[in-house]
């Protein structure tokens, strides 16, 4: 099976099917370009648990060494741990080898700047310019440095997150927490983290060599096993992580999946209770965040989809909490990136300080229904499609920051081209599932009229 269009070079990194479109040649050259961009110095490398990780790691190491950088390998680590490590050790950059939610045979390079943040769009454009010029200032044999390893990253990150929450209050509750790591990058780090918070951990899918047992996206339909586990074990909370450990979805004590878009709302609700301020989320995030912010008289700002866009706006506004509807939670004072560990710690703190069950915390906010749909679409067809959508909703209130987002008082729909796959993403949220489905249906039928 060939995927001629499987290579995606975009702000989320360089992504493809390992060995097929993500070849070792491409990885080596991109790593050399990145090393050229960062300048000589330590570059942190970490991976998730995909079987191609060794191949991609070695190719990246070779490219980095050739331009005088010192690769520092962390082995298997969650993405937020790598980003934290880059900043903590004052490295010149980082490369995380993970395709996040893509299927197992994919892999990707995610480039991290010295501030621990993913490269911004303009920085990434400079990097791809270097790559396309294809001339990297190689160092001579005498100036090549050696590879290093560092196994302190996970513990150091844990320390940072623990000092940011009310550790005593959490520990005293001895929570029973179920955990599904999808056999991903957090398989070792997450159970340890929860135990450090006094939790009794009931884990599944924490075996990094076994491949992904489920679709890595922590959406409700993928985490039935965790839901059963929560009920059987009588856990107070269930945490579902994605393969690179940056996204978090929750299961309440009754074994109900809250939906990955709920995570940022609950964390924002709790964080704003500590200290208010603006909240920043992306266009595709549930309006639950608006409801949570309203409880604390805070304002919600929306940006284009993508961690960098959210973070940039957060810095501009001095926002202390933000994230995305995909389960990404960002508290920049702790770690300026999507961090599922920060999310877990805040949820536990909310449970501890409110002396409430997770279902009770959730029920402080209204209920909505969200429908997410993918529609296969070649890149060149994305803009014409979006034009059609604009035409369809031409009389409604519209936000064109990223694709088309149409707003009504109690519902919205967002249609945009994906950064990571050749698809159009359609997301609608409404008071009932039928309403949401009807919105999506309207767009689908307009784009692909039913055959007569």
């Amino acid at each position: 099976m060939t995927h001629p269009l499987s290579l995606k070079i975009g702000i989320t990194g360089v992504r493809g099917i390992a060995g097929q479109s993500l070849t070792p040649q491409l990885v080596t050259s991109f790593a050399a370009a990145f090393g050229t961009y960062c300048g000589s110095g330590p570059v942190i490398i970490g991976t998730d648990t995909r079987p191609s990780r060794e191949m991609v790691t070695h190719a990246a190491i070779a490219g980095l060494l050739s331009v005088g950088c010192t690769p520092v390998s962390l082995g298997i680590v969650p993405l937020p741990v790598l980003q934290h490590h880059v900043r903590r050790t004052a490295a010149v950059g980082g490369i995380c080898i993970t395709a996040s939610h893509n299927p197992l045979e994919w892999n990707a390079l995610k480039f991290v700047g010295p501030d621990g943040m993913a490269l911004r769009p303009n920085q990434f454009a400079e990097l791809t310019d270097l790559y396309h010029q294809g001339v990297y200032p190689r160092v001579t044999a005498q100036r090549i440095t050696n590879c290093q390893t560092d196994d302190s990253a996970i513990a150091a990150h844990r320390e940072t997150v623990l000092t940011a929450v009310n550790e005593v209050a959490i520990r005293s509750r001895h929570f029973k927490a179920a955990l599904d790591c999808c056999n991903g990058a957090a398989s070792a780090a997450a159970p340890e983290f929860l135990r450090a918070l006094g939790c009794e951990v009931v884990p599944i899918h924490t075996e990094p060599e076994k491949g992904f047992p489920r679709d890595p996206e922590p959406i409700a339909e993928n985490i039935d096993e965790l839901r059963r586990l929560v009920k059987e074990a009588g856990a107070e909370v269930g945490f579902a992580l994605d393969a690179d450990g940056d996204r978090l979805a929750l299961v309440n004590e009754r074994g109900e999946a809250l939906g990955e878009d709920c995570t940022i709302a609950l964390v924002a609700d709790h964080a704003l209770g500590r200290r208010g301020g603006p909240v920043v989320v992306s266009m595709s995030t549930s309006r639950l965040v608006e409801d949570a912010a309203a409880r604390h008289n805070s304002v919600v700002y929306r940006t284009k989809v993508g961690e960098v866009h959210v973070l940039e706006r957060m810095y501009a506004l001095g926002s202390r909490v933000g994230g995305e509807g995909n389960g990404g939670v960002i508290l920049p004072a702790i770690n300026p990136c999507r961090d599922s560990f920060v999310g877990m710690a805040f949820v536990l703190e909310a449970l501890a300080e409110n002396r409430a069950k997770l279902s009770e915390l959730r029920n402080r906010l209204p209920a909505y229904s969200m429908i997410k749909q993918k529609l296969g679409c070649r890149s060149r067809d994305v803009l014409p499609f979006l034009r059609l959508v604009r035409h369809l909703f031409r009389d409604e209130e519209m936000d064109l920051t990223d694709g088309v987002r149409v707003l009504w008082p109690d519902r919205w729909i967002h249609v945009r081209g994906s950064n990571t796959e050749s698809v159009i993403r359609i997301i609608a949220e409404a008071p009932t599932e039928a309403d949401a489905r009807q919105l999506v249906q309207r767009v689908m039928e307009y784009l692909r009229p039913p055959e007569v």
Binding site: G19, Q25, A62, V139, T140, A141, I144
Partner: protein, 454 residues
């Protein structure tokens, strides 16, 4: 300077703009495609750049679906041994070998443990140039695993080729300069088992070398003083990946690397009579030794892959060159410094002779070696002019031009590693050597210079 050399059995170059990790990835992908996804053995020397190139090779091999037997820092002959022992499709040694430290190379080894011969090497180059590589979607994790016990098995394998008991009785004291390469540890093990005392020089594996790695008298500046002080039975210099060796006598007299092959032949032919294969550039000392044992010598183009390939075909007992690289067949299919050392110790022990006495058994011949820097077109014209001039002598034109007389010979060829012409002359007397050298050099210079002057 951008220096890249690609032959059928290796790709070597100056690390930086010429020998890049992308090039190494491409060659590893070509090799993995050639190996059809079977396991490949991998070793490297101690150079800094070897770490980078090794990573590039690992990535390339994995992407073509090959599992990797990773031998870490090790001599090239060990990679060769592992390939045969484990039935690998081939092996890659990341080593600049005798080249200076700014250079590095990938040496490609076939399933027989020998450097790729021209037929196999051309297949590899065709795949490389076509740039269509096998691509296995990484459905499972490709292992890069060590092979514990391989060093011990290798050393035991060498003992089977030697009269180890004869050596053990002598309790030799031996000084060896390892040039901070890959051979210190394995040689210590080998000599301990042979009841010898090793007095090591520059034995710590380091990413920079104490001196240039070619084992020649010029690079024995650390070795000779140690020999004078210790009065050891034998001195030796080994290159960083253990395929070449040169010796120093018990009187601390340095022997040129040309002595290695005839010294090995002195005792070896008595134990295992047979044909010897060497290159056109190697000293005639080997013919003298072979003749005295009733054996004969076959000469091939210069380079280990030619010499060893012919050795395997002829069923030779020794194959080696004037560079100090010698292999004893069928025990090894590469040049192997450790086995050569063992053979010399065996010869000393069974003949009850010192290394100095053995060296004095060899005929005294005068050798002159020189280089004439010139571009490839000038070089070929110079060779042609020599061929015309010596036509009546019926020169051998296998590799450049080799002319033979009763008391002397000359060999002029184009270097495969540098833009220059190599001139080698050997004669029974110093005067004749000088005369022949001046004659050949002058002719070559005029031929090249005349072209340049026009």
């Amino acid at each position: 300077m951008r220096e890249l050399k690609i032959s059928t059995s290796w790709v070597r170059g100056v690390v930086g703009d010429a020998l890049t990790p992308e090039l190494a990835v491409n060659f590893a992908c070509a090799f993995g495609t050639w190996a059809e996804g079977s396991p490949v053995a991998l070793g490297r020397d101690t150079r800094r750049s070897s770490v980078m190139l090794r990573s590039a090779v690992v990535a390339g091999l994995m992407s073509t679906g090959c599992d990797i037997i990773d031998l870490g820092i090790c001599p090239t002959p060990l990679v060769s041994f592992a390939v045969r022992e484990l039935g690998c499709a081939g092996g890659i040694a990341v080593t600049g070998s005798h080249n200076d430290s700014e250079w590095n190379a990938l040496k490609f080894i076939g399933p027989d443990g020998a450097l790729l011969n021209t037929v196999r090497g051309e297949e590899l180059l065709d795949i490389y140039h076509a740039s269509v590589f096998a691509s296995k979607p990484c459905g499972h994790l490709h292992l890069s695993q060590g092979s514990p016990g391989m060093v011990t098995r290798y050393v035991e394998h060498l003992f089977a080729a030697l009269d180890a008991d004869a050596i053990r009785e002598r309790k030799y004291r031996i000084v060896i300069d390892f040039c901070n390469g890959a051979c210190g540890g394995i040689t210590a093990l080998f000599l301990r088992e042979l009841n010898c005392e090793l007095l090591p020089v520059n034995d710590a594996p380091r990413d920079t070398f104490a001196h240039p790695p070619a084992p020649t008298p010029a690079n024995m500046i650390d070795l000779l003083p140690e020999m004078r002080v210790t009065h050891a039975d034998l001195g030796a210099a080994v290159n960083v990946d253990g395929d070449r060796i040169a010796f120093v006598t018990n009187e601390a007299f340095p022997l040129s690397e040309e002595f290695t092959l005839p010294l090995a032949a002195l005792g070896r032919l008595a134990r295992r009579p047979g044909v010897i294969v060497t290159s056109l550039s190697t000293s005639r000392m080997i013919e003298a030794v072979a003749r005295s044992r009733g054996q004969h010598v076959i000469r091939t183009s210069v380079g280990e892959s030619y010499v060893m390939d012919r050795g395997l075909i002829e069923g030779a007992v020794l194959a080696g060159e004037g560079s100090g690289g010698v292999g004893a067949l069928p025990f090894t299919s590469t040049f192997d410094a450790l086995l050569t050392l063992g053979i010399l110790l065996e010869t000393m022990a069974t003949r009850d002779s010192s290394i100095g006495e053995l060296a004095r058994e060899l005929p005294h011949l005068a050798m002159r070696k020189g280089e004439l820097p010139c571009q490839p077109d000038q070089a070929y014209r110079a060779v042609e002019s020599l061929r015309v001039n010596y036509e009546s002598q019926q020169p051998d034109c296998t590799d450049g031009i080799r002319v033979e007389w009763e008391d002397s010979w000359l060999h002029v060829r184009v270097s495969t590693t540098e833009p220059l012409l190599r001139v080698i002359v050997e004669a029974e007397s110093e005067d004749r050597a000088d005369e022949l050298y001046q004659e050949a050099m002058g002719m070559a210079r005029r031929a090249a210079g005349r072209e340049k002057g026009v």
